[in-house]
């Protein structure tokens, strides 16, 4: 086989690796995580880096969220925004809403149940995972309020996407 042929074969193998093998492996590992006991220190904060929200919420919920998030249109990058966390945020918010039995509310208007106004107005994207984590961990808000806030998250993100699309 020529050098070009060998290189082409490896390119094909890498494509197959990324598109088939990696997702399959990740799903398998997620299943293993789901059946394992919570890790020591789960729910506490690492000194330098935020805990993965998935570790707190559980892989089943995360996976469901990822499935729902995949249905959302992709977002264009915005300068100054922390895009890295947003797909995860969308995934979790969507999954939580699903769990609360509010499927289909992703386009609902923001219900101002938390003392008036859009609770996400002025909230930096970086701060949002903390909200979600706290909601889930501490049960600070009751289920309807939580669902409302999460709906607001998705509405907010939908606004961003609409604005991006309009540019």
């Amino acid at each position: 086989v020529s050098a070009l042929g060998r290189a082409a074969l490896v390119v094909l193998a890498l494509v197959a690796w990324r598109t088939a093998a990696v997702p399959a492996l990740e799903e398998r590992w997620e299943r293993a995580r789901a059946s394992a006991a919570p890790p020591p220190g789960a729910g506490t904060v690492n000194q330098n880096w935020s805990d993965p929200l998935g570790a707190l919420l559980g892989p089943e919920l995360l996976r469901e969220g990822q499935r729902l998030a995949a249905e959302l249109p992709p977002a264009a990058p915005r300068p100054g925004a922390d895009r890295a966390i947003e797909p995860e945020l969308v995934a979790l918010a969507a999954a939580l809403i699903e769990r609360e039995g509010l499927g289909g509310t992703r386009t609902s208007p923001v219900v101002a149940a938390t003392e008036g106004g859009d609770p996400w107005r002025g909230v930096e994207p970086r701060a949002r995972p903390r909200l979600l984590r706290a909601l889930v961990e501490a049960g600070k808000l009751d289920a309807p309020t939580r669902a409302t806030v999460l709906t607001a998250v998705l509405a907010h993100l939908a606004d961003i996407r609409a604005a991006d699309a309009a540019k």
């Binding site: 060998r6 290189a7 990324r18 904060v45 330098n48 880096w49 890295a84 609770p119 909230v123 706290a134």
Partner: protein
């Protein structure tokens, strides 16, 4: 003759062009940093602030002719040995820039960009050597310098790790030696290897590992002359670096052995999280405990299999690998190079295996599974039994050796393709790869290009502090872990006030941490100041210990009533550690009197002069302090407390003499604090400095019980609030 001279000049100019190209490529990769070169740094973690401090300290001390190995400018009065930083030569470059008049932040960023460019250039030399032309150099340089490993270390502020170009340069020198064995090339190999030492201990070890790999390759290929010269060169390099060994020992104290049993237990890992969060009391930080933490750190700093499989462009260096781009280009290159790539491929596989650390872990969830602990990986045996190997206690960083192999394979593969297909558009291919590689931060993995930069400006009040009489400073809260960015900046602020500082951002080595704990624990005043923001309940210290601290040279205690919003965000949920409340605030005032300096949200208290009569004991039980639980705790929820138009939110009912809370402005007007008593209703305005979390303390002047509320006008109001307290 003239033609020779012309060719030589053409070659020199070609290399100048290549060097300029890598500087531009580095600037592109690190964008938007170049647009804020003199004011911001790329990195929100702690090494950036530490390195900035170190560069300034060194240049100031050298300029004054007062540089000593141990300084009390930090970790005062215990002292901190500057050799602990372990990358002296790189610092000298930075210091030279500063002595030439380059401002600190610009010099730091020049080091970062220059380090990245030199990494690309070093790999370029290797690639050109293997390929025979600059195209091979560019492909190797791009694979090497656009790796998430180098990017992540740069973002974390570890500039000494970004400057990795000497490793591929060393590999190139070995290739020259193999092609033409002899003393000249042997000496070049020895000097190349020895030169890494003063720049970076880690990389000296890694370069040595690469040298051993290349040596084995020569032995397998029966190139005995090359193997003999390479062995001699490495021995000479080791001899040249031998005087540095005591300094290496200081930088990384003896690593404890790995305990296969304890890594499978949950408790040590739970303790590790609490330790990392700075939540453990000082008396629990025994030497044996810290040794156990050091051992677990090795596992935590190993590449997880799940990350290796997908090789994402992670910003967190602990999650970094050579990256999908480098793996893809390198592996395709290996396939094209065929048997010629065997040696580099073996080095790639070996180095990648070592990055997995002592035990195979699929993900970052401890503890280590039983099967993985019972079947340790090669790293474990090297760590336990090969002298000096344990100094490479962050296995993921061995990925830089894998990167060298990938860069070499990429250029070797391009050479094979071009020799087989003369009309292959090599330049176009390299240009396309450059576009993909350099744009990764914008679209791949964590997409770190979109993260905010960190502003390096310091409050002017620190310059006023410099004018006060010389004396030791404690910035509050005092932490034994680099917990928050605001806290990490305290050491950086020392460059403005120049007073010796107890706070130290570099207590990551257990020897220094143990010295800190030993000193602070012996003084009830100083130990009370540790983690003061998260302490609850009674606080107490003796007058004798305040006097002892003053006798040791301490003169100032600094309380912060503002924290920059950006710093707070980066601290995640740990931001509450920065927020001092009651009774700490009033106890400081009682014990130390009015601040001697107050501005920019910084309150500087002076310790009593020697000989001042002091009470036997200060104690504040905090029994009259009530921690409130408002409807929204913004530090936890990231959500402002919103008040509907014309509405109110009740906060507290009962006896109250003061309401305090930490607040950050939200969109729209802030609510007023409404004090409702039987006699009257009074509205108190809430004053918050924009862009900060501010400590708001409002006296409540009313007889009898009151109801405290947030009230809004017609437009509604919102405010981020946390750490809300009432003093009855």
């Amino acid at each position: 003759m003239l033609r020779d001279t012309g060719t030589r000049w053409s070659g020199v100019l070609g290399w100048v062009g290549v060097a300029v190209g890598y500087v531009l490529a580095s600037a592109a990769l690190l964008w938007p940093l170049p647009a804020h070169f003199g004011t911001h740094v790329w990195g929100d973690r702690f090494d950036a602030w530490t390195t900035l401090w170190l560069m300034d300290h060194l240049s100031a001390q050298i300029a004054a002719g007062t540089l000593t190995a141990t300084t009390d400018s930090i970790l005062f009065p215990v002292g901190y040995n500057l050799w602990s930083f372990g990358h002296a030569a790189l610092q000298l470059v930075g210091v030279a820039l500063m002595l030439l008049g380059v401002p600190l932040v610009t010099a730091y960023n020049v080091l970062l960009v220059g380090g990245l460019a030199s990494s690309g250039l070093g790999a370029h030399v290797l690639g050109r050597t293997l390929h025979g032309g600059h195209r091979g150099g560019w492909i190797a340089g791009l694979v090497f310098m656009t790796s998430p490993y180098l990017y992540g270390e740069g973002a974390a502020g570890c500039v000494e790790l970004v400057a990795a170009g000497m490793i591929p340069w060393f590999a190139a020198s070995v290739v020259w030696l193999v092609r033409a064995p002899g003393w000249r090339n042997g000496l070049l190999v020895a000097l190349s290897l020895a030169l890494v030492g003063p720049f970076n201990w880690y990389y000296t070890l890694f370069t040595g590992m690469l040298g051993v790999g290349l040596l084995v390759w020569q032995l397998v290929a029966r190139r005995h002359a090359a193997a003999a010269w390479l062995t001699a060169a490495m021995v000479l390099a080791a001899a040249l670096d031998a005087p540095l060994i005591p300094l290496v020992r200081r930088e990384t104290p003896a690593r404890p052995p790995l305990d296969v049993g304890s890594v499978q237990l949950a408790q040590p890992w739970t303790d590790k999280v609490a330790f990392s969060d700075g939540l453990l009391p000082l008396d629990s930080l025994t030497e044996s405990f810290l040794e156990e933490q050091d051992a677990l750190e090795v596992i935590d700093n190993s590449t997880q299999l799940s990350l290796l499989v997908s090789a994402p462009f992670s910003l967190n260096p602990l999650d970094s690998t050579p990256g999908a781009f480098a793996f893809a280009v390198g592996l395709v290159g290996w396939a094209a190079a065929g048997r010629r790539g065997f040696g580099w491929g073996a080095i790639l596989l070996g180095a990648t295996l070592l990055t997995l650390g002592p035990f195979l872990r699929v993900d970052d969830q401890p503890p280590v599974p039983r099967a993985a602990a019972e079947w340790p990986l090669p790293y474990y045996w090297f760590y336990q039994y090969v002298p000096f190997f344990s100094k490479a206690y962050r296995p993921y960083r061995i990925g830089v050796v894998a990167l060298v192999a990938l860069a070499a394979l990429a250029s070797a593969g391009l050479a094979a393709l071009e020799s087989e297909h003369r009309r292959l558009p090599g330049r176009l291919l390299v240009a396309a790869l450059a576009l993909v590689g350099l744009s990764q931060p914008a679209w791949s993995g964590d997409r770190p290009m979109w993260r905010p930069l960190a502003d390096t400006a310091l409050p002017p009040v620190y310059e006023a502090l410099a004018e006060l009489p010389r004396g030791g400073v404690v910035e509050l809260p005092l932490q034994y872990q680099p917990l928050t960015v605001a806290n990490a900046r305290y050491q950086y602020a020392q460059i403005a006030h120049r007073q010796p500082l107890l706070n130290c951002n570099q207590l990551i080595r257990r020897t220094d941490l143990f010295a800190f704990v030993g000193y602070v624990q012996a003084n009830s005043f100083l130990s009370t100041l540790v983690d003061l923001g998260r302490k609850r309940g009674s606080l107490a210290f003796s007058g004798a210990d305040v006097a002892a601290a003053r006798a040791d040279g301490f003169r100032y205690v600094i309380q912060h009533t503002r924290v920059e919003t950006g710093d707070a965000q980066l601290a995640s949920r740990d931001i509450t550690a920065d927020f001092l409340g009651e009774p700490a605030g009033r106890l400081l005032e009682r014990a130390l009197g009015a601040p001697v300096l107050e501005a920019d949200g910084v309150r500087v208290f002076g310790l009593p002069e020697p000989g001042t009569p002091l009470p036997t004991r200060w104690i504040d039980t905090g029994s009259d302090v009530v921690d409130l639980d408002p409807p929204v705790d913004s530090a936890q929820l990231g959500l402002p407390l919103s008040v509907a138009p014309g509405g109110e939110v009740e906060l507290y009912t009962g006896e109250a003499s003061q309401l305090s809370f930490w607040a950050q402005a939200a969109a729209g007007p802030a609510p007023v604090v409404r004090v409702r008593s039987e006699a009257a209703t009074v509205d108190l305005p809430v004053d918050v400095t924009p862009g900060t979390w501010s400590w708001v303390r409002l006296p409540v002047a009313a007889d009898g019980p009151v109801t405290l509320l947030f009230g809004a006008g017609e437009g509604g109001a919102a405010l981020h609030v946390t750490r809300m307290q009432v003093v009855r």
